[in-house]
């Protein structure tokens, strides 16, 4: 009997490699788990038949284009869309032998922090199905946490990998901007979007990153990346860890979250790390505001292509203009519409300098402020999310409260920096995540630190109610 709740990707790989079980049997075990628990969790929008291959299964967020497999980005406007080409990340996984289990739920066009903006209904948190799994990558998070996939790919624009990982108690990496190709990934905000791994532990996360990362000639913004080192060390000797005051003492951080994060930081010190306080005042103060200009501005342009002409939904209309408006009116949900309006306004002539132009300058300031901190520290830490998983519907009616969820994940995204969540404990029976952020291309440092901490903490990633 394969325990998909506990099995890591590395263990699964060994089982298949040593022919203890076949790849087909492993795939079937996950399909069985999906059959059993997905009706409750709604992690998947689409489940695949076993496509074959040499390797183990993987789930992919539904913004990641997969040839021949419906890719909706959580939107009605792409309800019927079946890509004719693989995204680079999907192609790399396929080439490595990974078998696509299915496409996971997401807020529409990855716009949200709870999956409640999915046009196909929300996903549920495996630790407590009355709560959200986070978002936008709540589907991949619920799938990995609920034993419905050994690992998965997510995408992160302002926290969509890290925050769901925190809320569901597993590992998620948002890589350095430019290390993973965006080709074939439904765009939300091009200067921020990054695909990254969602996994049960840091070694799996590092391994999946090594499969997808690297220069892609189809994405001009990608670069060559340093060779990935699978972490083995169990100490943190020589590592300088900064604790940004504003990110650890911000209003709205729950006491239980603070306590679990403090404990993890003390543990890091006992493992040999040098821990010191640092400061990112402007990044935290202006990060969210800046993000909500840059991301919607880019989104308003990126979502223009959904015009009903070539693919996806088309509503009737007497002429092109009317068909276009009806298609977009019927096809987009409230959140994309809200962001298209904000973004269109921010880019409008006469407002550009005050909004988009200024946001770009603030972004440079955020980047510089982080660079200064990294002169003294190898990485910085904070809670990933100010709260544990909240109830479905709790924030759905209040976009601003929802946006503030990403207060701690957004600044480093704006700076293009890598960030990783690892689970560090429970508060009120729900997982608390620690965010580790490093300078550009410091993924190996994050893996090393995350792995050592994870071993020392011994967090059980299987949701209590499913053990």
């Amino acid at each position: 009997m394969i325990d998909t709740l506990r099995l890591t990707a590395e263990e699964a790989w060994k089982l298949v490699d040593t022919k203890e079980i076949s790849g087909g049997e492993l795939f079937a075990a996950y399909l069985a788990a999906i059959g059993e628990r997905d009706p409750e969790l709604h992690a998947y929008l689409h489940v695949c038949k076993d496509p074959g291959g040499d390797g183990i299964p993987i789930a992919m967020k539904d913004v990641i284009g997969t040839k021949g497999v419906r890719t909706t980005a959580g939107s009605k406007i792409l309800e019927s869309y079946v890509p004719v080409f693989d995204s680079t990340v999907a192609a790399r996984c396929k080439k490595f032998g990974l078998r696509l289990l299915g496409k996971t739920n997401t807020d529409e066009f990855a716009m949200g922090s709870s999956t409640e903006n999915s046009a196909y209904g929300p996903s549920h948190n495996p630790w407590d199905p009355t709560r959200v799994p986070g978002g936008s990558g709540g589907g991949s998070a619920a799938a990995v946490s609920g034993g419905l996939a050994p690992w998965a790919l997510g995408s992160d624009t302002g926290g969509s990998i890290k925050q769901p990982a925190a809320l569901c108690g597993h590992v998620g990496l948002r890589p350095t901007y430019g290390t993973v190709s965006r080709y074939g990934v439904v765009a939300f905000a091009s200067s921020l979007d990054q695909v990254g791994p969602v996994a049960k532990n840091v070694r799996d996360c590092a391994f999946l990153y090594s499969i997808i990362a690297g220069r892609d000639e189809n994405d001009s913004t990608t670069v060559e990346v340093p060779e990935v080192e699978l972490p083995t060390a169990e100490d943190l000797k020589g590592l300088r860890i900064g604790v940004p005051k504003e990110m650890n003492e911000a209003d709205g951080i729950e006491p239980g979250v603070t306590a679990a994060v403090r404990a993890a930081i003390e543990l890091a010190e006992s493992l040999g790390a040098e821990v010191g306080e640092c400061s990112l005042p402007r990044s935290v103060e202006y990060g969210v505001a800046c993000y909500y200009l840059v991301a919607p501005a880019e989104a308003s342009s990126n979502l223009g292509r959904y015009d009903g002409v070539r693919y996806g939904r088309r509503s009737d209309g007497a002429d092109f203009r009317e068909m276009l408006m009806n298609t977009r009116h019927d096809g987009f949900g409230d959140e994309p519409k809200r962001r298209i309006m904000i973004g269109t306004y921010a880019l409008s002539s006469g407002y550009y300098d005050a909004y988009y132009g200024k946001a770009q300058r603030v972004r440079t300031m955020i980047r510089n402020e982080h660079a200064e901190v990294f002169e003294k520290f190898d990485l910085i830490v904070s809670p990933t999310s100010p709260t544990v998983a909240f109830k479905l519907g709790e924030k759905a009616g209040n976009p601003l409260a929802m946006y503030l969820n990403d207060l701690l994940t957004i600044p480093s995204c704006m700076a293009g920096l890598p960030g990783m969540n690892i689970p560090v404990g429970l508060s009120e029976g729900l997982p608390v995540g620690l965010q580790l952020i490093g300078p550009q291309f410091s993924e190996n440092t994050l893996f090393r630190a995350g792995h050592a901490l994870e071993r020392a903490i011994g967090f059980d990633v299987v949701p209590e109610r499913l053990r």
């Binding site: 890719t71 890509p83 004719v84 001009s220 913004t221 308003s300 015009d307 269109t344 002539s349």
Partner: protein, 467 residues
């Protein structure tokens, strides 16, 4: 009052690179509708543009030929608007950081150079092609629009001039010179009928001697240089009439139709689009290396403007202009070098040769020189026949040179007398003053002799016989 026209031009030239501007699709016509397309130029979700290096080089080369400054850093911007032929709902173009800016093109005239400032030359992508269909086959009452994306994504260089032109003829000559420059640099076919070169003209008028810039109108849809000149003249006259009647000129775009008396407005600028330009986050800035710019500069030969001036020292300005802008001056110098008379060779090339529609590249200059030299000594018919075949592979002048004109009066007189006898009525009319009938008799003689008679001798003999 005297009025001074102020004219500026905006020219688009399609580059004939092997592939499109931002994808690897074949660039160029051919194949059925939508056969030269891919996820990128069809704007499928997640598809990303990658700039065509060759197109960047060619734009720089044209910029250098126009004496522009080449930017150290050039940026691609998105120009956002909805139209069925624009699949991304934005055109990738350049905005405030173009590749080339601040150049000039000197248009030689009989009275010296007229220097036209080049504001900028930048790279962008062409739109696809809309085909409106209706039972009547006319645009009016069209029932459907089909889109052919083959043209979408073709590299375009946009050249914008300063408003330095003040008359239609110089504008026309500027366009001819620019076209020849582009062709010689081997960047484009620049064929107006095929749309590989297109231009819009901005026209305003002001009181002579003033330096104000009044409201301008934009003329579109002119597919020949003569139409452009005609359209400009008509628009200048219209604006002067409006001002003299105390009216004001509206800023609008006019659709030029040479078959109509006036140019109907296409759209008024009140409905002007806000294109929401912003830097395309999918592309990285272009930094042309100095070595590349130097190499491209070294590849540029003597430009047409300079050659017109050089050749005008030998020939008339008019002949020099016709030869150079017609792409015939290189053949002309070769023919002269091979022994033909300069003026005679220019006459043949500018008249019969152009009319025969032969490519100068196919011609053996030595053979053509022999023909030109023997022009007055061989029958007209033989010369015409030879010229029509001068571009054929393996053409030699020898067989035509053997045919000599019949100038011997003892041979011609009996024929002339016979013809006069056979046409007593016409002879009588001529004698009573109808001079025009001379041509009739000459024509009859030429016909009788199979075109071999020397027309000058026949002329003279007919006249003397009839007097």
């Amino acid at each position: 009052m005297n009025w001074e026209p102020v004219i500026g031009l905006e020219i688009h030239v399609q580059l004939k690179t092997r592939t499109k501007m931002f994808c690897r699709c074949a660039n160029g016509f051919g194949g059925g509708p939508n056969t030269q397309t891919c996820p990128v130029c069809l704007a499928f979700p997640g598809a990303l543009p990658v700039a065509n290096k060759r197109a960047v080089e060619e734009c720089i080369k044209l910029g250098l030929a126009l004496e522009c400054e080449i930017a150290d850093r050039a940026v691609f911007h998105r120009k956002n608007y909805f139209y069925p032929d624009l699949p991304k709902a934005y055109q990738i173009s350049q905005y405030d950081e173009p590749l080339c800016a601040g150049g000039r093109l000197a248009v030689p005239t009989a009275d010296g150079d007229v220097v036209i400032g080049i504001t900028r030359a930048h790279l962008e992508e062409d739109a696809a092609k809309n085909v409106h269909i209706a039972a009547s086959g006319r645009l009016h009452g069209a029932t459907a629009t089909l889109v052919d994306f083959n043209r979408g994504g073709t590299p375009l260089v946009e050249i914008v001039t300063e408003p330095d032109l003040h008359d239609a003829d110089t504008a026309k000559r500027f366009l001819q010179l620019l076209r020849q420059t582009v062709i010689e640099l081997d960047l484009s076919d620049a064929e107006l009928e095929k749309g590989s070169m297109r231009f819009d003209v901005n026209v305003s008028v002001r009181p002579a001697g003033s330096d104000e810039l009044r409201t301008r109108t934009e003329l579109k849809n002119m597919n020949s240089f003569n139409f452009a000149a005609k359209g400009i003249e008509r628009e200048i006259a219209r604006q002067i009439r409006i001002y003299e009647e105390g009216g004001t000129v509206e800023q609008e775009t006019l659709h030029f139709d040479p078959t109509q008396e006036d140019s109907p407005p296409m759209r008024s600028k009140e409905e002007a689009q806000d294109y929401r330009y912003f830097p395309d986050p999918d592309l990285v800035p272009v930094h042309p290396p100095a070595e590349l710019v130097d190499r491209l500069r070294s590849e540029i030969g003597e430009l047409p403007g300079a050659r017109i001036k050089r050749i005008a020292d030998t020939l008339s300005f008019y002949d020099a202009d016709v030869l150079v802008t017609g792409g015939l001056d290189r053949l002309w110098s070769d023919v002269v070098a091979a022994g033909a008379d300069a003026k005679e060779a220019a006459n043949v090339l500018a008249n019969q040769f152009v009319a025969a529609g032969i490519s100068p590249d196919d011609v053996d200059a030595g053979e053509l020189a022999k023909l030109v030299a023997a022009r007055s000594e061989i029958p007209r018919a033989a010369f015409d026949e030879a010229l029509a075949k001068v571009g054929d592979a393996g053409f030699t002048a020898a067989p035509y040179l053997e045919q000599k004109v019949v100038a011997d009066t003892s041979e011609l007189d009996p024929i002339i007398e016979r013809i006069i006898e056979a046409n007593p009525g016409q002879a009588e009319q001529f004698r009573s003053g109808k001079e025009g009938l001379l041509g009739f008799f000459v024509g009859q003689v030429m016909k009788e002799t199979g075109g071999k008679a020397d027309p000058r001798v026949v002329n003279e003999r007919v006249r003397s016989k009839l007097s």
